[in-house]
Amino acid sequence: MKYSYYPGCTLKTKAKDLDMYARLSAKELGFELEEIENWQCCGGVYPLGADEIGSKLSSVRALNYAKEKGQDLVTLCSACHHVIKRVNDDIKNVEDIRNRANNYMKLEEPYAGETEVLHFLEVLRDRVGFDNLKKAVKKPLTGRKIAAYYGCLLLRPSKVLAFDNPENPTIIEDFIKAIGATPVVYPYRNECCGGYISLKDGEKAQNMCEKIMESASGFGAEMLITACPLCLYNLNKCGKLPVVYFTELLAEALGIKED
Amino acid sequence: MQKIVERAKELLADGTVNRVLGWKKGDMCFNPEPAFFETAEDLDENFVYGGFCGANLSKYMIDASKLEGKTLVLLKPCDTYSFNQLINEHRVDREKAYIIGVGCKGKLNIETIKQSGVKGILNITENGDMLNIETLYGNTEMKYSDALLERCHVCKGKEHKIYDELIGESQDTSDRERFAEVEKIEKMSPEEKFAFFQKELSKCIRCNACRNVCPACSCRKCVFDSTKFDSSQKANTDSFEEKMFHIIRAFHVAGRCTDCGECSRVCPQGIPLHLFNRKFIKDINEFYGEYQAGADVDAKGPLTEYTFGDCEPSIVKERG
């Protein structure tokens, strides 16, 4: 099975681990991530105004690339996933945006939202299956108490993202179970880490991350995992518990992480 | 075509069906007509299926549903919408039909060919994407796609909506905006609109071909022939009558018309009658949400449904 893969800017730089372990694990699990040629930055945030079009085009290009290859589009970074998934939804459902985007793109066949956008976690859950993942695990992380940190971008708005229950998600907990560890459920796992505010108001972001960390450790977590480089950055600054990308633990459990 | 004949013969032979509803050769290559076949010989001799078999056979199934045993009916993708609509209205019996969905790559319009200046046509054969035309004055050729019926340019798709089996490949031939013609008229001034329809409808000779071919116009007795509305058929004395006739006809099939285009195809005067039906379809789509008659066998239909928030009739004025 081959997927078109959109890594995004951060995965090429600060979040190389997130990317590398994902590719390695994918191979181990029997699917392949084919990086889209000449992908452009998704913009980091979903374009704000209902009338904006230009900033959505890079997503449309990636989506159309996958469509032409006849593949589903897999993302890894929460922000890229959020932006691309929402743009795809716009193209599918909002005629005006679809028409205007296609006017710019001048494609042979107009793009109308045909591509399915999947987060890597969704591939694990819906395509590979957590049961199969469990079977593939060579070094189960038995006894480790791990808390999932979802953040905002994967879950909300749930009508579009349709990723998991926005207020009580379970996908990463199920993932943690599949790799043999014990998931720690805590109420702040879908609260905001502060996001971009940390650039100019680090203190505010720190306060928010502390609440998250406190709650997680209060419920007995030893570490946090996440899918988002910005969340990881903000949480790490707070420093209470270690935070790693979920792909790193995946690779570890699959026995392919080099020490 | 041979595949269809072979399969039809098989189904006749094993008793699955008692007859076949298809097309038989006409006196010219371009006017095959709907016909029932009951024997293998008849099929071998007279059956034809080709680019000129535009006729929608659904309506003939109303009568066939009353006959003994099953009828094998050949339906093109767009015909299946009509057939579904007839099931919806209990006019045909699904159990009495064995449906072979036949492939369709668009059907031909002899008028288009003639209008391109070809005269004295003797025979037309299909050759891939081209048509070879033999005429009294020698041979010529024309692109298949240039000779399509209007309805094929706004093809509803290559999928059969109902069938028992499929034979042959279909193709979506749409290459025009379905409502472009309607929009063009909508943009005219009232005077231009009036002049346009006056001109078109004055050609009407009230031959009733449109009514007779229409799969939605399947009433046992047409209101124009009944005394219920005091609107019995009269000879047309001025264009007014034709306006009434065509508005009423279009209204009667509004929400039920699948846009099969048969009315325009058969009109001997070449009146674009589909412009009436399509206007209603466009309005229904705009006012009440996308609706395609015949796409869903169980649909209630836009004129027998409502929502609390429907637009008011004054929208016509507001829209200008």
């Binding site: - | 009434m244 229904i284 004054s314």
Partner: protein
């Protein structure tokens, strides 16, 4: 537009029995005048009005046709006016499409308590018909001697 003094329009008003006909009665008992050109036909419900009646009126020389019913939501038969609303919307749109002036047709929801609305509506409508003049586009000229 110059108003033709000779022109006496024929205007047919279909009124449902439960709301609009009663609204017209109220206009009457409140002495709220409107032109005599309007003639009312009582129907049980606006959903009884067949588009063919409206076309028939035009055929026979009517210059305007108005239909009145209960307000949506208040239909005596619960749902009749909803169907009527769809039917009339489509019919009017078609007439407009064919170049018949859209001011010649109108739907108004008038309750039994809206005598004033009935009267104002009729005054407006008649004025509109005067401004449009004689209906030539959809009339059978033989009927209009």
């Amino acid at each position: 537009m110059p108003i033709n003094k000779e022109f006496k329009p024929k205007i047919v008003a279909f009124c449902c029995n439960w709301c609009s006909y009663a609204g017209a009665d109220l206009a009457g008992s409140s002495r709220l005048a409107y032109p005599a050109d309007v003639k009312i036909i009582k129907v049980p419900c606006s959903c009884r009005v067949n588009p063919m009646f409206i076309l028939r009126a035009f055929e026979k020389g009517a210059d305007g046709v108005i239909m009145c019913g209960c307000h949506p939501g208040d239909c005596h038969y619960s749902t009749g006016n909803y169907y009527a609303r769809r039917r009339m919307t489509l019919l009017f749109s078609m007439l407009d499409y064919m170049g018949v002036e859209n001011g010649r047709t109108r739907v108004e929801w008038v309750s039994a308590a809206e005598g004033v609305k009935f009267s104002t509506t009729m005054n407006e409508f008649v004025e509109k018909i005067y401004s449009l003049g004689e209906n030539v586009r959809l009339g059978d000229l033989r009927c209009k001697k």
